[in-house]
Structure formats: C-alpha cells, structure tokens
C-alpha cells in the first residue's frame, strides 16, 4: 500500500468517513436536516476529489484499478446517488419512521457500487457486490410498517443471496481452472488455451446467473417488478440506476480485461438474453396499470438495449453503453423522482389513476414526467433518442442485424405504453382530490430543484450531445487500448 493509493481511493474513503460520521451523529442526536446535509456534502466532496484524478490508468494491486472507465462510472454513481439523496429528503420527511439511518445505508450502498466498478479481482468484486446488496436489503424493507415493503425485502434478500451463491460457485470453478482470481491474469490464461475447458465454461455460466440477477435481465428478472413496487420510491430509483449500472460497469471491465469477447458461445448466451429481455420487458409492460411495475419492466427492456451495445464488443460499443447509461440514469431518476414527489404518507403514487389529469393539477411535474417518458421511448430531442441512436450505430457497425432489428421493433412496442401514461396525464378529470399533506415549500425545494436539473440535463444532452460524447471519449482513451 502506497500513499498515492490513498489519493486515488479518496472518493471511496470519503464515503466510508461519511457513513461513520452519520452513524456517530445519529448516536448523539437524531436530526434529519443534519444527516441530510452531511450526506450531500460527502457526495460533493467525493465528486470533487474524483475530478482531481486524470484518466490515466493507475493500478492498486491486486484488487483495484483506477482508469478512465472506472472514473467515468464512479462519477456517474456518485452523482446519481447525490440526486437520490436530494429526492429522498421530502419523501422521508413526510413519513414518521426513523429516517436518519436511511442516509447511512444509502452511502454504504453507493460505496459498494463504487468498489464494484473499480475492482479487477474476484474478491473485490464479491465484497463490493455484497456491500451493495446487504445495504439494499435493508433499504428495500426500510418502511417497516408497510406490508409490501417487507415482502419486497425478503424476496430480494432470498434471491440476491441465492444469486451470489451461484456467482461464488462460478468464481470457484474459474479459479479451479485458471488458478487465479484477477481479471488480467484470467485474460492471460485464456490467451494460452485455444478452446474453453468445460469446467471454465460452467464457471462462466454460473457467474452469468449472479451478474444477470443484479442487472435484472431475462430470465433472472422476476424480482424486479415486485421489488420496484415494494421499495420506497427513492430506493427504487437507486436500484434502477446505481445497482444495475455498477454491475454493467463491472461486466464490461471483466470482458475487456479477460478478453472474453472472442468466445462465440458466451456471446450467443448474451445475445439470447438481450433479445429475451427486450421482448419480455416490453410485452409485460403493455398491460401494466402500476407505474412502478411498468417502469420495472421498461428497465428490463432498457438493460436489453444496453446489452446490444455491449455485444458489439468494440470501442464504439463501450461508448454507446456509457452514453446510454447516462441517458438512462437521468431518465430513471426523473421518472422515479416524480413518483416520489407525488407519493403521500400512506402509499406511493404507483397507480395509473394517480396520474390522470396530472397536467391540470401540477403542470411542471407533469411536464418533467412527460419529458422522461419520451426519453425512455426514444423520441428525438431527448437524451434517450441520442442514446438509442448510438446503440443502433454500434450494432450496425458490427453487423448484428438480428439485434438491431429487435431493438427497432421493441422501441415501437415500448412507445405504446409510454404514450398511454402521457395520455392519462393530459386527460381532463372532473374530481380533483389532493390527499397530500402540504409540506413547507422549502422542504420540497430540494426535490423540485433536482427534478428541474434532471429535466434540463435531459433536453441539453438530447439537443447537444457532443460535449458528453467528448467527455466519454476522453475518459475511455486509456481504457481498452486493445481495440
């Protein structure tokens, strides 16, 4: 351990420090505002220290590597978590449960995702994944008195533990064959063999179960709608973004460092998963009346889209994944942020009926939600459109016509249910009932401001994507020199 290692790991250390500090402050005095403030400042400082790092590749052997891809993902995760924190304040202020520990758990979950995206070793992967998962178990079941919350919690708990057991068994088999746990050394081993041994292939297959579960892709997607519905809305936003994005970051790092793109049978598995995710996600969303479940199915489909870019397996593909992740994160945060804003003390605003005539009651909220849904559908002038265009470009570039065709087809199917929600928001209603407890305007300022920023970012990236593309290209310059 060198001193400069600490410098490069500073964003993670700040999160650890903030979690400890929060714990101590809660022990002395419970104050929602103070804990909220500490969490926000910690995220900002972590992002600031991240900006000090340049994109050059820095090894912290054997566990971590800090390169452009890692820095990109860390920045994305930290900013997303910052927005989730902003959205959480008004949401939890309305509820009488103890709210301070929520921020502690949120910081820990963010830390887990951060460890995940810079790991290059099975042990670091496992530790990061479990820090993320264990924090998420309690976050999902956080609103203890709600029946659905604990049901979602136990479902996620059992399935996540089961999937990590699969992941571990897969890792053990890979270790058995290759004799190493670090990604680059596995890559070296794979270079030396012409064909994958059966045991190694089994190992990779079992690992795909663990990874696929976290990504929420078909056939490991069954938990997604239930957990999305049962979890508090800000936590749902966190699961949809940070938890899935972190795993995607890891998957791309593993495949590029171990150079596993060469194996046709692995690629075939992912192709089938991608097509199944797109189809199942969109078709199951069609008849959905519950907004949170609808967004859950839509996120299954979106992960399928991202896999199309991932399967391209070249620099353009990784760029497309990065761009789409940014667009998808902004959109998901915005959409679940609206759900969190509209939720009252008894339950989350998750029925389609809650949104009927929303435009005439709260025009600004409805406008943001419309923008988010249009971006999810991939309508021009939004970030989602540019992202989808990028993915199509990478698919066409590598001539994966089947995937491209399915992507286009599914975008059309997806359009239907997004438009359905938008139509409901603009419908005229006679009876207007507001069951919300009216909050102090300053309280909802954080959420309102966050939503406005998200909406502006969405349009800005949609109209002028060049700056984001250049940022991504600059950071990826040091990553994957092989391509």
């Amino acid at each position: 351990m060198r001193l400069s290692d600490l410098y490069f790991l500073m964003p993670l250390l700040i999160l650890v420090g903030a979690a400890t500090l929060n714990m101590l402050v809660v022990a002395v005095k419970r104050n929602h505002k103070v804990i909220f403030g500490i969490t926000i400042v910690a995220h900002l400082v972590a992002v600031f220290t991240l900006l000090q790092l340049n994109g050059s590749s820095y090894q912290i052997p054997p566990f971590f590597v800090m390169d452009g891809w890692g820095i990109f993902n860390l920045g994305l995760i930290l900013l997303t978590s910052l927005f989730v924190t902003l959205l959480s304040y008004a949401y939890f202020e309305q509820r009488e449960e103890r709210k301070e520990e929520y921020y502690l758990l949120l910081i820990l979950a963010t830390l887990g995702a951060c460890v995940l995206v810079i790991s290059q070793h099975f042990m670091a992967l496992f530790l990061g994944l479990e820090i993320l998962s264990v924090a998420l178990y309690s976050l999902i079941a956080y609103l203890r008195t709600r029946e659905r919350s604990d049901e979602a919690g136990i479902k996620y708990l059992i399935l996540a533990a089961l999937s990590s057991a699969f992941l571990l068994f897969g890792m053990a088999l890979v270790y058995a064959v290759t004799g190493t746990m670090s990604f680059p050394e596995i890559g070296v081993y794979l270079q030396s063999v012409s064909e994958l041994p059966l045991l190694l292939l089994t190992g990779f297959g079992l690992m795909i179960v663990g990874i696929g579960f976290k990504l929420g892709i078909v056939p490991f997607h069954m938990w997604a709608p239930d957990v999305y519905e049962g979890a508090p809305a800000p936590v749902t936003a966190f699961i949809a973004t940070v938890s899935k994005g972190g795993m995607m970051g890891l998957l791309i790092r593993f495949f590029s460092q171990a150079d596993a793109y060469r194996y046709a049978n692995l690629m075939l598995i992912f192709t089938i998963i991608a097509i199944a995710s797109m189809l199942a996600g969109n078709l199951l969303a069609l008849r959905q009346k519950n907004i949170k479940r609808l967004l859950a199915y839509s996120s299954i489909a979106h992960l399928g889209y991202i896999l199309v870019a991932f399967l391209a397996g070249n620099r353009l593909g990784v760029e497309a994944v990065s761009f789409y992740l940014v667009a998808y994160f902004i959109t998901s945060l915005g959409a679940f942020g609206v759900v969190a804003l509209l939720s009252d003390t008894e339950r989350d605003a998750d029925q389609l009926e809650d949104y009927r005539g929303l435009f005439w009651r709260r025009p600004a909220t409805a406008a943001v939600f419309t923008a988010m849904l249009l971006s999810l559908a991939g309508i021009p002038l939004t970030a989602g459109f540019v992202g989808k265009f990028y993915i199509l470009a990478s698919g066409v570039n590598t001539q994966q016509w089947l995937l491209v065709l399915m992507l286009v087809l599914n975008s059309v199917i997806g359009l239907y249910y997004y438009i359905k929600v938008i139509a409901a928001m603009f419908a005229q209603t006679k009876s207007v009932q507001e069951r919300r407890k009216v909050l102090h305007p300053a309280l909802s300022f954080a959420s309102g401001g966050a939503m406005a920023i998200l909406g502006l970012l969405l349009i800005w990236i949609g109209v002028y994507p060049t700056s984001l593309v250049q940022l991504i290209r600059g950071l990826l310059a040091t990553f994957m020199t092989t391509f």
Binding site: L127, A152, L168, F169
Partner: protein, 109 residues
C-alpha cells in the same frame, strides 16, 4: 503429523468437486421447495459452504493462498447477510405472525 494441505491432497480433487456440487444442489433444491424463510436461509448457507469447501480444496491443491483468504471473506459476508436477513424475517414475523413465505403474495404481476 502432516500439514493440513497435504491431508487435503490425500483425497482426489474430483471427489471434492462432486461433493461440493452435491451440497450445492441440495441447497438449491431446499431453497426451491421449502416454504419457511429460516430454512431457506439455512439452505443458502449450505450453498455458500459448498463454495467454501471447493475453494479450500482448490487452494490446497494449487498451493495458492488466494482461495483460502477468499473463504474468510465469504464467511464474514455470509454472517453479515444472515444478520440483515434474520432482522427482516423478525420484522415479517411481527407483522404477520408467521415466517411462511407463501403468505407473502401481495406483489404479483
């Protein structure tokens, strides 16, 4: 008195593989068929222990400490996971007076 890795190496590697795989499959079957949340947890622990055994055996055969270090991590993490898991099960028991997961069926489709 032999060194422990040597003792481990007296049994062929395949046997460890078969034994761990069997334990792992028993764990999967348990998770899929049992309805009590606590027993499901025990089955998941069984699966994790199958992995531990496998890692230890491979580690001894390769004379590489990585596998055994990993086992300690897995044990620690499994303990943490069970803590949170049992807390959630206790919460469910308080709400529903049961740990049978069949009762939990509010969330579907």
């Amino acid at each position: 008195m032999n060194e422990i890795p040597e003792v481990i190496r007296t049994i062929p590697l395949q046997y460890y593989l078969f034994f761990s795989s069997t334990l792992f499959v028993i764990g999967i079957i348990g998770v899929l068929t049992r309805r009590n949340a606590i027993i499901i947890f025990m089955c998941i622990e069984l699966m994790l222990n199958a992995v531990n055994l496998l890692l230890t055996a491979f580690s001894a055969y390769r004379s590489d400490a990585n596998g055994q270090v990993f086992v300690f991590f897995i044990m620690a993490v499994a303990a943490a996971e069970v803590c949170v898991g049992l807390a959630i099960i206790v919460m469910i028991y308080r709400n529903l007076r049961s740990t049978d997961i069949n009762i939990l069926s509010n969330l579907k489709w």
